[in-house]
Amino acid sequence: MTALLEVEGLSKRFRGLKAVSDVSFTVPEGRILALIGPNGAGKTTTFNLIAGVFPPDEGRVTLKGRSLTGLKPNQVCAAGIGRTFQIVKPFGQLTVEENVVVGALARERSVETARHQARAVLERLELADQANRPARSLTLPDRKRLEVARALATRPTLLLLDEVLAGLRPTEVDRMVGVLRDLNRREGLTILMIEHVMRAVMALSDRVVVLDHGEKIADGAPAEVVADPRVVESYLGAEALD
């Protein structure tokens, strides 16, 4: 089992505040890894460090052995990482399809080909019937799906999902979990996801990494991690012990 993504000793401070402190983990190829932890634990900062939004103070990120440290977001995208945003960022005035076309154009020069690819991705995410609507008119669950669709259209080898299930109703969570599992099982897409919906984390992930105050406090199989007293104390809540 080879590591697709390796994160080693990643640290980032914001004006003295240690947002991420010496975090290391690996994401094996073809697996789903969940990054969990309380609010402010540094999950999104870790994502941003991987995606090139800002450079780490220390540490490095490699994808298939190639260093991503210091690359800009568009270069990280070109290297094979697609990402979604926790606070969704659709191109509001463009249609749903045009949003996804932008993603597809990351690897495609022809707009026509990109459009075909975008349609296929929209089918996949069950958004095809919304293709011609302006993105700003979508409901939140659909916007979340659009985030995934746009990221997927960049044809990533690793997909970073930042709370794509937050704010969804249980039936919608199940629908999205189904789509993600399908992408992983059938197409071998590797996924690194930040998620609070534990039901989905347990259902999807092969491995769970827990952050608290910017530090990694647990790393292992889902069942082990949720039984870890430190994780229970810091994140899941004491009542989960009962």
Binding site: A51, V53, K72, P73, N74, C77, A78, G82, R83, F85, K89, P90, F91, G92, Q93, L94, T95, E98, V101, V102, G103, L105, A106, R107, R109, S110, V111, A114, N132, R133, P134, R150, A151, A153, T154
Partner: protein, 339 residues
Amino acid sequence: MIGLSGVGFSGVTGRGMVLLVLTALGLAVAPLVADRYLVSVLTTVLWFAYVGQAWNVMMGFSGLLSLGHALYVGLGAYVSAALFVHFGIGPWAGMILAMLVAVAAGCIIGFLGFRFGVKGVHFALLTIAFAEVARIGFDHITWVGGSGGFFLPVEAGASDPLNLRGSPLLFYYVALALVLGALVLSRVLLHSRLGYQWLAVREEPDAAEASGVDLFRARMTAVAVSAALTALGGVFQAFYFNNLFPEQVFSMGRSIEIILPAIVGGIGTLVGPILGAFILTPLGELLTFLIEAGGLDLPGLKQLFYGVALVVIVVFRPEGVWPWLARRLRLVRQPGEGA
């Protein structure tokens, strides 16, 4: 699917296409029935329609607010005029250098703005600063007349299209060609890979970058294209009016006049700047006429009315007149109506 409306790519209906073609034909034959005055007004309309489209490439497509577009007009005008007066190089050749100089100026502004994260209103201030520096600077460049003005030789009755010397009719058709050319170019660009990237950058720069768009490159290209097109407008202006004064060409007022058609017509739309120019210039002429007819010759009255008219348009049609008109007259397909 031909997207001539909306801020995205919504398609034009058959009716819209017919109207577009009829308008173009109407403009092509207009001089046959129009008198000299009307031709000159229409030429002004077309000039603003053209530079409005050029400005729209930056603001409308890429979300970059330039309030100093007079800079590119002025550079285009002065470079082509200087080449003509001092070296006898005609405007058709001179425009190449004129565009290059404007692009170079745009790239300097863009580099400073995008490298150092100067955004939004602050970027707009940067564009004003450069235009102002040029205005003051050209006052002192005596090689091109300084503040006393730079004049192109005029021969009465000359007809030399190769040097853009000729009757007002020649200029009318050149202006019309510029407008139609810019319209076609804008549409082609907007539907290209670059166009999608521009709109993505305009809407959500972070998401665009995460989708593989090189922000710096996309924005620099927008500035370069816009500057080059605007410079052509400057070349036209130099040879049409035959005189250039830094105080006019580079003025802040001129920069604002350039952006008004797009704001009134609809920022980011292909037709908006053209429609805006057709509303604003005749409105200005009408006001002049009414004020003269009414015998109310108070200084600034025209500007006052003009300002009020603008406020009315912007308050009631903040997205611009074109998107509203296109919807009302069913000239475009609405999103969701299918392609």
